[in-house]
Symmetry: C2
Subunit: 294 residues, 2 copies
C-alpha cells in the first residue's frame, strides 16, 4: 500500500504505528527520526524502523505516508521543519490528543499545503512511554478520531481511514472543536484529577504508610497518574479552557456529594451514588470488531 513510512518521534505512539503497518504488510520500509539520537538508535535496534533519519525533513523525504508523533506543543516546530517537503498526495498525520492547537499550527505553517495534513487522534496509549513499549497491537480494537478541515484532500482522508482500519482501529470523524470538548471531559480531566489525587496522597506526612495499604481500586483509579509528564503538560495547556469547564462541572458535583455527606442526608447521598453507579455499570467502551473478523 505504501512504499515508505516516515515517523517523526519514535516513541510509544510512533513506534507502535510503524510496527502495526509492518505487521499488516502495509509498508515496504520505515524511516524514523527522533530528537534524541539514542531513541532513533534503539528504534532501529528493536526493528521498529529500518532507517534512521538525521532530521525530521529527511524522514519525510521519499515517504508517501508520514506520522508525526511528538508532544502537541512540538507540532508547530515540526511543521516548520518539514514544510518544504509537504507535497500533494503524501499523507501526513499526527497522533495528538488535542486537535485545535495542532490544526491551528498546521494552518499557520503549511498554508495551502495544509490539504495534505489529516489530523488524527488514536484513543490508545499506555501509562508507560518510549519505543521499548511500542506494540503492533496498540491501535487494534481502538477508536481513531480524524478531524479533517474543509481544505483537506478527500483522497487523503480516505487513505487515512483505510490505513487505520487495516490495523484494526475504528475511524470516526468530527470537528477539532467537538473533539477537544469531548476529550477534555473523558480524558484530559481524569488525567488532571489522577495527578492531583496521587500527589495529594503521596505528599502528606503519612503518605508512604497510606500507599502501602492501597488496593486494586486505588491501583486502577491512579493508573493514568503515571502518564508521561511532557505529553500531559502540553495537552493540559493546549486544551485548558475546555478542561477548566469540565473541572468546574466536576467540582459542582463533588460539592453536592460533600454537602449531603456533611448534612448526614443518607437517602440523598445514596441517590447520587446510585445514579453514578448504575450509569457506570451500564457503560461499555466502544470497540470495533477485531481485525480478523472484519
Amino acid at each position: 500500500m505504501f512504499n515508505q513510512l516516515g515517523v517523526i518521534g519514535c516513541g510509544l505512539m510512533g513506534g507502535s504505528f510503524a510496527l502495526a503497518l509492518k505487521r499488516a504488510g502495509l509498508v515496504k520500509r520505515v524511516i524514523g527520526y527522533s530528537k534524541s539520537p539514542s531513541t532513533t538508535d534503539k528504534a532501529k535496534r528493536l526493528g521498529v524502523i529500518d532507517i534512521a533519519a538525521e532530521s525530521a525533513l529527511l524522514a519525510v523525504s521519499g515517504s508517501d505516508i508520514v506520522l508525526m508523533a511528538v508532544p502537541v506543543a512540538a507540532s508547530e516546530a515540526t511543521f516548520k521543519a518539514i514544510r518544504h517537503l509537504v507535497e500533494p498526495g503524501v499523507l501526513f498525520m499526527d497522533v495528538g490528543s488535542t486537535k485545535r492547537d495542532v490544526v491551528d499550527a498546521a494552518r499557520r505553517v503549511l498554508k495551502d499545503r495544509v490539504a495534505s495534513f489529516v489530523p488524527a487522534h488514536p484513543i490508545a496509549g499506555k501509562e508507560v512511554s518510549g519505543v521499548d513499549h511500542a506494540d503492533a497491537l496498540l491501535y487494534s480494537g481502538r477508536q481513531v478520531i480524524l478531524t479533517p478541515l474543509k481544505q483537506t484532500d478527500a483522497t487523503l482522508v480516505q487513505k487515512a481511514t483505510d490505513v487505520w482500519s487495516a490495523i484494526g482501529a475504528q475511524v470516526l470523524k468530527m470537528t477539532p472543536e467537538n473533539h477537544d470538548a469531548a476529550f477534555a471531559a473523558v480524558s484530559h480531566l481524569p488525567h488532571l484529577l489522577a495527578f492531583a489525587y496521587f500527589s495529594a496522597v503521596h505528599k502528606q506526612p503519612a503518605g508512604a504508610d497510606f500507599l502501602s495499604l492501597a488496593g486494586p481500586g486505588f491501583r486502577d483509579f491512579t493508573r493514568i497518574a503515571a502518564s508521561d509528564p511532557a505529553v500531559w503538560r502540553d495537552i493540559l495547556l493546549a486544551n485548558r479552557e475546555e478542561v477548566m469547564k469540565q473541572s468546574l462541572r466536576f467540582r459542582h458535583t463533588l460539592d453536592a456529594l460533600e454537602h449531603v455527606m456533611k448534612t448526614g442526608n443518607a437517602e440523598a447521598l445514596e441517590d447520587l451514588i446510585r445514579s453514578a453507579s448504575e450509569a457506570r455499570a451500564s457503560w461499555q467502551m466502544s470497540t470495533p470488531k477485531p481485525t480478523g473478523s472484519r
Copy 2:
C-alpha cells in the same frame, strides 16, 4: 479448623469468605442469613452456604466462627440481633471498610462480650456486588486489616490471623483510628471522586456522546464508580470527617495544578505532573505470596 461458619449477609464479601473457607477445607458446614430470603436461597443454590438460617441469631447458633458482611450502618442492628449468642471462644468478625463506627457499635451493644469481636477489613472487592459474584479467590493475595481493641481476646486475634492467612491474605494490625485515616486517603476519597467525576460527565447535555468516545484510561479511572451505592453511602457517612480532610488536600493540589495551567507556566506544570507520575510509576500494590508458596 472450624465446625460451622455463620455468615450474616450472603453477598459478595460474605459469600467469597464462605467459598474460600470451604475451598481450604477449613470449615465443615456454612450456615447463612441474608435480609432478603431470595439472596439466601441463591447462596444455597450456588453452594456458597449449606443451610439457610431464618435470622441472624440462628446463623450464630452453633457456629464457632461468624462473619458479619453487612453494610457498615447495619452493624449496630446486627450486633443487637445476635448479642445473646456472642459467647467467649467464638470468633466474630466483620468486613467493614470503616472501623471506628463498627467498633463503637460493638462496644455499645456487646459491652464486655466485645472481647469476642475481631474487627476486620479485607482490602478486596469488585465493582459488582451480590452472591453471584462470590469468588473463593477474592481474598487471595490481598491485605486484611485487623483493628483489635485492648479487650479483644488475644486467642481470637490469633485465630483470625490464621484463618485469613490460610485463605491467602496478609494480615496487618492497626488501631481503628489509623485505619480510618489511611482508608479515607487511599480508598474512600477515590470512590467519592470517581462517583463525582462520572456523574459530572454523564449528566451534561453531550454526556452520552462523550461517553461513547472514552477509552481505556477512562475505563480504569471510573471502574470504582460502579460500586455498590448502599455500601458506599454508609462508608462515606461513617468516615466523613477523615474523607473531608483528604478531600481538602486533594482540592488544594488540584487548585495548584489549575493555577499553573491558567498562568501558562509550562515548567511548573510539568514539575507537578512529573512528581506524581514518577511516584505512581514506582508504586506497587502490596501483595503477599500466593497461597501455594507460603
